[in-house]
């Protein structure tokens, strides 16, 4: 079962930093995670798309450069979700 890490304010909204989720794609994994948490869903998704500047990575690789939300997720994959961030 893929594990999923949350960062920044998503962690505060969900109340956890790491969870295990089900789903063959990133979208399914997110929907499973947010099934009972509309605040978390709103923080990640907008009209079924990722909110601007929210980054989702599988094992350190951004899904935007793969197949986006329909990117397949393997059983051992780590999904990381980052809220909008800035700095340097």
């Amino acid at each position: 079962m893929p594990s999923r890490k949350l960062f920044g304010n998503l962690r505060q909204i969900a109340g956890v930093s790491k969870v295990e989720t089900q789903g063959a794609t990133v979208r399914q994994a997110i929907e499973t995670l947010c099934a009972n948490d509309t605040a978390l869903r709103d923080a990640i998704l907008m009209d079924d798309h990722l909110r601007p500047y929210v980054r989702v990575m599988i094992d350190g690789h951004d899904i935007e450069l793969a197949q986006g939300l329909v990117t397949l997720v393997g059983a051992e994959d780590q999904i990381a979700v980052f809220p909008p961030m800035a700095g340097g």
């Binding site: 350190g60 809220p83 800035a86 700095g87 340097g88």
Partner: protein
Amino acid sequence: MDGWAGKILDIDLSSGSVKTYPLDEKVARLFVGGRGLGARMLWDEVGPEVEPLSPDNVLIFTTGPLTATGYQTSNRFSVTTKSPLTGTVLDANSGGFWGMQFKKTGYDALIVRGRAEKPVYIEIKPTGVTINDAQPLWGKRVREVTQALGQNDHRRNVLCIGPAGENLGRMAAIMNDGQRSLARGGPGAVMGSKNLKAIVVEGKQRPGIDDDERFKFMLYETRKLLRASPLTSQALPEFGTVVMMNIVNNIGALPTRNHQQTQFEGAEAISGETLTEKYLVKNASCWACPIGCTRISKTDKVEAEGPEFETTWAFGAQCGIDDLAAIIEANALCNDFGLDTISVGSTIACAMELVEKGKLDADLHFGRADLLAPTIEAIAYRRELGSDLAEGSLRLATKYGLPELSMSVKGLEMPAYDPRGMQGQGLLYATSNRGACHMRGNMLGLEVLGLPKLIDRFQVQGKSSYVILHQNSSAAIDSLVICKFTNMGVADEYFARTLTAVTGIPYSTGDLIKVGERVWNIERLYNLREGFTRADDTLPPRLLNEPVADGPSKGWVSKLEPMLKEYYRARGWDEQWVPKPKKLAELELVNLMEAAR
């Protein structure tokens, strides 16, 4: 000249003379202020024969036409000098309050030359300019000096050096308003070499604004954009810059143990999330800044501003240390001694690897948080091995026989992104005129955060055009001078329109970016005149030759050479990185070329 004060203050500490002369209007139009104006003035003032720590080097403090107007983040200022760490052109800029206050004294720039016989401080007030005895302050730390000279954020502001600058440490910073720093490249050592402890400013003059109605509209528009952006209204205020720790670690680009690895197992413990949860007291802001990214943190030992991401990385992952309290305390110590945290952290990491490799016999080991504070103090006072470390990582590693262990470009230590996992970042570092610097362009935004769009961080072909665009834009913003974080929510176009409203000179977005390109090119000409060559546009051998062992960047090295070739061509420079005559004509820099050769 609306926007600009129209005057330059020139103080010779050798003779005690104080002069004022007008700002050249053409220079102002072409270079604007801040970094650009500083680079143009340094070109005339300091040639290749001048040693950085000699009385003939100068410190040029500059503001810009937007400074103190009340435009969002118009608090920043620059110092320009020849760097004692790198020998290159150097500018460093800082926020807080001092820059705003200096502009209100009625000057665009202050040039300090010569060397005082005894320690002095300069005071610039509406009643005049004085050079005062600073012997009782010599040896004192930054906080004490700042308080002793009467710091008051909105009325009287203090800029000073700490013991590191007095002891001519090449990583010494100039500090303003207590805990803000003009950090990189050792400007504090130049100030120390002049026996100049502090500059105190009190001003009452407001900069003129050409079109008040249009300016107010730009204030309104900018405020709206900053509020609307999740980056400037939410991300930066909530977690500060340290929030970068986990994402950079996640992609495998967080330099660890002197760049021996690219992921740190202790990243979570030193992350922005942990800082906010355990140590954050409150946020703070610079003058006229609605973003408020500053963090006030508290441990059992200190309560202080920061630490920023770069600092947390330098004393954290780069030294293999996961003790955030120790890092907060190391940051506070560096601020109080007047030291650049990036260079100091990376130099300590370099020493740790020299010990690991058996080249240096010292009690410095990766992971040892207890060694940070005593090592920083030894650097500030140049005690024992601290004296070698105070020279920076390149001189240290060279002395102990492994110069390749210095993770620097042109002698300036690299910030917190491993070029093997961010190819564009490597090109940015290699070509930066002041040495490795993350503030000369926001490749983090493009390669990781998707700002304004995501590009493949491993892509090589075509990367140079992005790097050039960002370098030019950042040079322009540094010349206004405003905070680059404003640019996270507000496009360059708005800055050009604001500059037009303030000065009455029509600047298009293209004109503003052209200012940045001009600044980049005059800096390059300066380095060329100093004897730097194409060979200096490079990265440490480790990053070019040692593939990342594991993680998301596994197998990658920096593919710098093909990017460099593309870069020079796109810049309009020849293969030896000399700007071509056509480019110089386009930038109105033709008359400088002969001297550069």
